[in-house]
């Protein structure tokens, strides 16, 4: 599953009072997309507002456009200072996708993001793979300088969600493809992704899952071969059997073309194999190198063995003597 967090960053609450109708936006725009993606994974959504959260980078002032610019090579350094405040570690055990909306301070407005060529980016947003995305939302300066602060801002959620959902698509690996003019491409529409894109996702994930299961089970078998000390509990064994059965059914379903059933089977296989591999009981601590074995057992058994060996020698000698005696006595 995945956890999606929408955060509004307001570094200057004295100048801007920002209102965003996140609940409505989630219901109207995000939910259809997530419902369609629910075949692939479970999602849970939450949102927060952070005050006095600044970006770690100071933007430059550009006289020509009389705006502030964030250059492309300073973007990687923006995320880390903010991450500590996002609270994603307390959220859940699932991977978290963060979508941040940043309203620049009045002294740094308007703020544009520059791409590598120096042109301002139309979406004013950037994203980081496996993490999420950030969008900068510029607020127009108040018409008259005497307007009272703080200025009330109503965020245009539709525009924001267009960008966030596009980032979500990119994070999942679905990008807009160029098609030759004779082809008609089904557009994603409001659900965020077209049916064929969903199929593509399912298929890619199924193949990836099957590959993961094979490597996991192989490495588990190799581990057990190498270290004979590990005890496999019954439930771990049953997970392994189930994983193998699931992966076999996934492969057959895939060859038959039943994509959904194959995906479900592969997902089941991955869950079982991961549970088996990462079971806490499989930790092998009992590594005994040969010199440690000698060092432990010899002081224990050698003193005990000395009288036994000596008596053994005595027994052998006596037996041999007795065997010779009857011949002598005769």
């Amino acid at each position: 599953g995945y956890e999606i967090t929408f955060s509004l960053l307001n570094p200057d609450p004295k100048s801007h009072t920002v209102d965003w109708d996140i609940e409505g936006a989630v219901n109207r725009f995000v939910k259809p997309v997530l419902d369609k993606l629910s075949l692939v994974a479970n999602f849970s959504v939450d949102s927060q507002i952070l005050y006095y959260a600044v970006l770690g980078v100071t933007p430059r002032y550009d006289k020509e456009s009389s705006s502030f610019l964030l250059s492309a090579h300073s973007l990687p350094h923006v995320i880390n200072p903010v991450e500590a405040r996002l609270g994603s570690s307390a959220a859940s055990l699932y991977p978290v996708l963060n979508f941040l909306l940043y309203v620049p301070e009045r002294s740094h407005s308007p703020l544009y993001i520059q791409d590598k060529d120096g042109a301002p980016v139309s979406t004013n947003a950037f994203h980081s793979p496996r993490w999420g995305g950030i969008m900068v939302y510029n607020v127009e300066a108040p018409a008259s300088p005497q307007a009272s602060l703080p200025v009330h801002v109503d965020v245009d959620m539709a525009r924001v969600m267009e960008v966030f959902l596009a980032q979500l698509r990119l994070l999942f690996g679905l990008s807009r493809e160029e098609v030759p003019p004779e082809f008609l491409l089904e557009s994603p529409g409001n659900e965020g992704l077209a049916d064929w894109e969903l199929d593509h996702l399912l298929w890619a994930h199924t193949v990836e899952n099957i590959a993961t299961v094979s490597t996991t089970l192989t490495s588990l078998a190799q581990l057990l071969d190498k270290i004979g000390n590990i005890v496999i509990k019954d439930d771990v064994a049953s997970e392994v059997y189930r994983a193998v059965a699931s992966v076999q059914s996934a492969v057959t379903e895939l060859s038959l073309g039943h994509l959904l059933a194959a995906f479900q089977a592969s997902k089941d296989a991955v869950t079982c194999s991961e549970r088996a591999f990462f079971d806490p009981s499989l930790l092998h601590l009992l590594y005994f190198p040969d010199d440690q074995k000698f060092a432990i057992y010899i002081p224990l058994f050698l003193p005990m063995a000395v009288p036994i060996l000596l008596s053994l020698a005595k027994i052998v000698r006596e037996t041999r003597l007795r065997k010779k005696e009857p011949t002598k006595m005769d």
Binding site: N27, M161, A166, Y287
Partner: protein, 343 residues
């Protein structure tokens, strides 16, 4: 990871906290750091300056700071917990901050300090981790692709022995001393009464203080830190398992966190006139399970709790031979005919 207890091992805690502080300063957040300290020096009753841990004798740098987040403390720092964190075989009830949630694109930095010897590192004065165990743990991490590249730094006596046995790819290792040499501490502080830092880590810290998140210094410079004239011991490194040339590896690849970022060039066109959707009843409840992380109730374990049958196994060869020997000697000494009186 700091593995030593007791007040006189102050310097190991100071070592670990200095590296922690540098790494945080260069951008890695606490959620990505697992800090294991075996003893509490800042609040130790023998600390004349409570709530501080200094790294320099003029008390310039309080490495304890305000926002230290220790994940494994005191008696929780054991070989077992350390290996569990590395391999991921953690009981389901462990909180997120105590887990190593890395994937195949993560670069991991592991820094260990304490007392060590040829082939082992001592944990808490009561147990040790051998270099073979460590190599096996790294191999298991590699099998599950839990790291992209791994940098292993160890500051103990005879530290180079700990990385001799690594065999998994993409590992680079640094140690403060070779086999047969001892790592020495830097300087004692007369006010606090103990040695404050180890030499190798002291010079590494000085080196790291010059690095900032956008710096382009590479690993070859880190290898030069602490030459024999300053350090008395000879630091060693191992790069044969590493794919890239150390010249091209930036320090911030491991010590800092510079994320890959892409500009979002496209938007999704949404139909703005969509009315609020009434909550539709879900059509089918597809039972989906969490992909990798803990589940709440270990159903499989409960189902398989049969009453404990102790399976009887015939005794192994060695034990059998030993007992046969003892019994033979017993009978020979006391004579068979006496046994009739016993029974």
């Amino acid at each position: 990871v700091c593995t030593s207890r007791f007040w006189f091992n102050y310097r190991h805690v100071a070592n670990t906290l200095s590296v922690y502080r540098s790494v945080k300063r260069l951008g890695i957040p606490d959620s990505h750091i697992v800090l294991m300290l075996a003893d509490d020096m800042a609040c130790n009753p023998r600390n004349p300056k409570p709530a501080t841990v200094f790294s320099h004798k003029n008390m310039e740098l309080n490495v304890y700071g305000d926002d230290v987040e220790v994940d494994y403390r005191s008696y929780e720092v054991t070989v077992e917990n350390f290996l569990r964190v590395l391999t991921g075989r953690i009981p389901p009830s462990t909180p997120r901050s105590k887990r190593l949630l890395s994937d195949d694109r993560s670069n991991i930095l592991i820094y260990m300090t304490g007392h060590g010897g040829n082939g082992f590192l001592k944990f808490q004065d009561s147990e040790e981790i051998t270099n073979v165990e460590l190599a096996d743990a790294f191999e298991q991490m590699w099998q599950k692709r839990r790291y992209n590249e791994l940098l292993f730094i160890i500051d103990t006596c005879q530290g180079a022995s700990m990385y001799e046995r690594f065999y998994s790819p993409n590992i680079m290792a640094l140690a403060s001393s070779q086999v047969g040499e001892d790592s020495l501490s830097h300087q004692p502080d007369l006010g606090i009464g103990v040695h404050l830092m180890d030499r190798y880590t002291f010079y590494v810290l000085e080196f790291l203080e010059e690095i900032h998140p956008a710096s382009q210094t590479n690993m070859n410079d880190l290898f030069q830190v602490c030459p024999k004239s300053l350090c008395v011991s000879t630091p060693g490194h191992r790069t044969d398992l590493f794919q890239r040339d150390p010249q091209n590896v930036l320090i911030t690849d491991f010590f800092g966190s510079v994320r890959k970022v892409e500009i979002t060039a496209e938007t999704l066109s949404l139909d703005r006139d969509v009315p609020g959707l009434e909550s539709k009843l879900p059509e089918e409840e597809l039972a989906t399970e969490p992909l990798k992380y803990a589940e709440q109730l270990p159903v499989a374990q409960i189902i398989h709790q049969k009453p404990k049958q102790k399976d009887w196994h015939p005794p192994g060869g060695f034990i059998l031979g030993l007992w046969a020997l003892i019994i033979m000697v017993f009978f020979k000494t006391y004579g068979i005919k006496h046994m009739k009186h016993v029974f």
